[in-house]
């Protein structure tokens, strides 16, 4: 499965599949222009999990300094789609509490799918 990289001006993302795990990393600062690219990237991650082979997605957000509510909305939608997959795919969020949005937002995000999402505060 090929997951296209994301390389915007201040936001980058990449993913790779490895023995039932998709490891994805999102870094930088997201601007309003990055909403659609982020949606595309996470959509590709979701598509990669559709074959029943992937059991977990590790999403490394430790270097993701800032996202707006629009980006959080993309993540909420992504979580909803991951939850709708035929086979359970766990989502592990590698967080950095140094960033206010993560400290405030990721727990709320995890509560939306507590059976699926776990947070590693790093």
């Amino acid at each position: 499965v090929i997951i296209a990289e994301l390389a915007e001006e201040k936001l980058t993302a990449a993913a790779m599949a490895d023995e039932g795990t998709v490891r994805a990393r999102i870094e930088g600062t997201a601007s309003q222009r990055d909403v659609v690219p982020l949606d595309t990237f996470l959509g590709a991650v979701h598509a990669a999990c559709g074959g029943g082979v992937v059991a977990q997605v590790v999403l490394d957000l430790r270097s993701l300094e800032y996202v707006s509510s629009s980006h959080l909305k993309v993540m909420v939608s992504w979580i909803a789609k991951m939850r709708a997959l035929p086979s359970r795919v766990g989502v592990k969020l590698l967080a950095n509490e140094k960033y206010h949005w993560q400290k405030r937002g990721l727990p709320a995000l995890a509560h939306l799918a507590e059976d699926l999402v776990t947070i590693d505060p790093g």
Partner: protein
């Protein structure tokens, strides 16, 4: 000027110019060629004339040789005792045989024995005449004799018995019209023989007309040099003339001949040819005009169609399209115009959509502002609030609702932007308002949980949308106790006692994304002392970006609140100071900014 007319006139002028130039060139060329041919022919005719005269002389030479051998002639010339009548008789008999005009016989010394033209003449010494002298000396001589109004081609032959000369025979043929007419028949040229300007002989002109005295005088006045041609008009017709001294004439008198050819006859072919060219040119011009009309119509028709098409587009008929007409350039133009119209149509559609969207946003913005509480009075609290919508509706929300012994305070933000976010925000306000009024004594978590259920159903099932809401609901009680539920931004509390800010988290989760959040929606509490300032806000404050891309953040917010509240000014002043700090940090507002500044004051109770 219409294109069709321009093409027609242009093509016609070009064709006409080409035709005129062609006819003029051809006419000039033919005329020049005809004249040159006439010049050449005239020169050839003049040579023929001279050769004919030489030939005549050669015939006369043969003739005189035969006659000179006549025994009777020799006998009468050699016999001294013979009468003049006898000699004259023999001479007349022989002259008749050769039909000459001159017939003279001299003796061996050159004295005249007989002259057929002058019967009485006799004895005159003719030995001084060059012709007679040459004949006596050389045996034969020839030349041209002239009289007052006549000229003769003359042959002289010595008469001899053995080697003894006994006399000289001179015969001469007059140069008359017959000579000229013969040349006329042979060459086609008119011939005129002139002696001292007097016409001695002439042929008829081309066309059979005779030279009259006036025309003869005109010809006589011509004096073309050898090889030169001059023009003359005779009887209304132009002639080309060439001339020379009469061949064989060595006398002092001016004996010349002139040959003439009609220029009109020579140019008749040119006239015919030019006329034919005129006819062909006229026909060609006519055909060219017909072709020009057809072409102009063929070329103008698609152009007219394009003009009409442009007119329809100009009138707003943007669904119109130009059809290809088979002319490559015009088809390319039509295709380009179609693309332009398509773009124009799309732009107009986009513009209309944009206007519609802007109208919707304007409506949403008004809705957002219109449902904000007008009255911020609550017992024990001084409240100042502000909402500054960004260009695009962001879905910020705050509300203040009365409750027994206190009030409800709600603050939240709908994720995303636009009209749908505004609609969700409107739902939040309505539901919270209804629930809070219905159950004033409810715990905040109960209201929030109920709010989530309604929102989830509305957003996910009815709107089929994916918005979610960050929302905190606070229940203030007059004693300073504040209970709250719902995940939103941390609550900032500036403590008057130690003049520092305290951050209080709002645990829980977001609303509208899942059906039930009860397990993750705890009630939390904080306590306010008199003078404490509680600040509620949306992410438009903490996530305001500087020009360098830096977030305003919690730390700056706390600093701003501490700085603004330190001298304990009215809550409106604190609000304005904090907003000024945010604006100074981030001149370009990207998101809705909402700020509530709430100071707790002791409740005055009536006795």
């Amino acid at each position: 000027v219409r294109l069709r007319s321009a093409i027609l006139v242009g093509v016609s002028l070009v064709v006409a110019a080409v035709m005129v130039a062609m006819v003029w060139s051809l006419s000039t060329l033919v005329r020049s060629e005809a004249r040159q041919q006439l010049v050449d022919e005239l020169e050839r005719n003049r040579q023929v004339f001279e050769e004919l005269q030489a030939y005549r002389q050669s015939l006369f030479r043969q003739e005189i040789r035969v006659v000179a051998e006549e025994p009777r002639l020799k006998a009468v010339a050699a016999t001294e005792e013979i009468t003049h009548e006898t000699v004259l008789g023999v001479a007349r008999e022989l002259r008749r045989a050769i039909a000459s005009e001159l017939f003279l016989i001299t003796d061996g010394e050159g004295r005249l024995l007989a002259d057929v033209a002058e019967a009485e003449a006799s004895g005159g010494d003719l030995s001084g005449l060059p012709l007679v002298a040459q004949a006596l000396a050389r045996g034969e001589a020839e030349g041209v004799w002239t009289e007052a109004r006549a000229a003769y081609q003359v042959q002289a032959k010595r008469l001899a018995f053995g080697t003894t000369p006994v006399g000289v025979l001179v015969i001469g043929h007059r140069l008359d019209d017959r000579v000229a007419q013969t040349v006329r028949r042979q060459t086609g040229s008119t011939v005129v023989v002139l002696l001292e300007g007097e016409v001695l002989a002439s042929s008829s002109l081309e066309g059979g007309r005779r030279l009259e005295a006036q025309q003869a005088a005109q010809v006589a006045a011509l004096r073309p040099r050898a090889g030169e041609q001059v023009e003359i008009e005779l009887l209304g017709e132009r002639y080309l003339a060439s001339g020379a001294p009469f061949p064989g004439h060595a006398g002092e008198r001016d004996l010349r001949y002139v040959v003439l050819r009609s220029l009109a006859h020579a140019e008749a072919l040119r006239h015919d040819l030019v006329e034919a060219v005129y006819v062909v040119a006229a026909l060609g011009l006519f055909l060219a005009l017909v072709l020009a009309v057809i072409l102009s119509r063929r070329m103008a028709r698609p152009v007219d169609r394009l003009v009409a098409f442009a007119g329809r587009v100009g009138a707003g008929e943007l669904e119109a399209r130009a059809r290809p007409d088979g002319v490559v350039e015009l088809d390319a133009l039509a295709a380009a115009m179609n693309r332009m119209v398509t773009e124009l149509e799309r732009s107009r559609s986009d513009l209309a959509q944009k206007e519609r969207l802007e109208n919707e946003l304007e409506i949403a913005r008004r809705l957002q502002l219109s449902i904000l509480p007008r009255d911020l009075d609550a017992p024990g609290l001084k409240i100042a609030a502000a909402m500054r919508p960004a260009g695009e509706v962001g879905g910020d929300y705050y509300d203040l609702l009365p409750a027994p012994g206190g009030c409800w305070i709600g603050v939240g933000d709908v994720a995303g932007h636009g009209l749908s976010a505004g609609v969700v925000m409107l739902m939040v306000q309505s539901i919270v308002s209804a629930l809070a009024r219905e159950r004033g004594d409810a715990r905040p978590s109960e209201v929030v949980t109920r709010l989530n259920e309604v929102l989830h159903d509305n957003i996910r099932h009815r709107l089929e949308n994916d918005e979610h809401v960050t929302f905190s609901l606070l229940r203030f009680e007059e004693g300073g106790r504040v209970s709250f539920a719902g995940a939103h931004e941390d609550i900032v509390v500036w403590r008057a006692k130690d003049r520092r800010c305290e951050l209080i988290a709002t645990p829980g989760t977001w609303l509208g994304a899942v059906a039930s959040i009860e397990r993750h929606t705890p009630d939390s509490e904080l306590s306010l002392s008199v003078g404490d300032v509680m600040v509620l806000y949306t992410d438009g404050v903490t996530e305001a970006l500087s020009a360098g891309g830096e977030l305003f953040g919690m730390e700056r917010l706390c600093q701003a609140v501490s700085g603004a509240a330190n001298d304990e000014p009215p809550v409106e002043t604190i609000r304005d100071r904090v907003l000024a700090a945010v604006e100074a940090f981030s001149p370009e507002q990207r998101d809705d900014v909402t700020l509530l500044v709430i100071r707790y004051e002791a409740v005055e109770r009536r006795a």
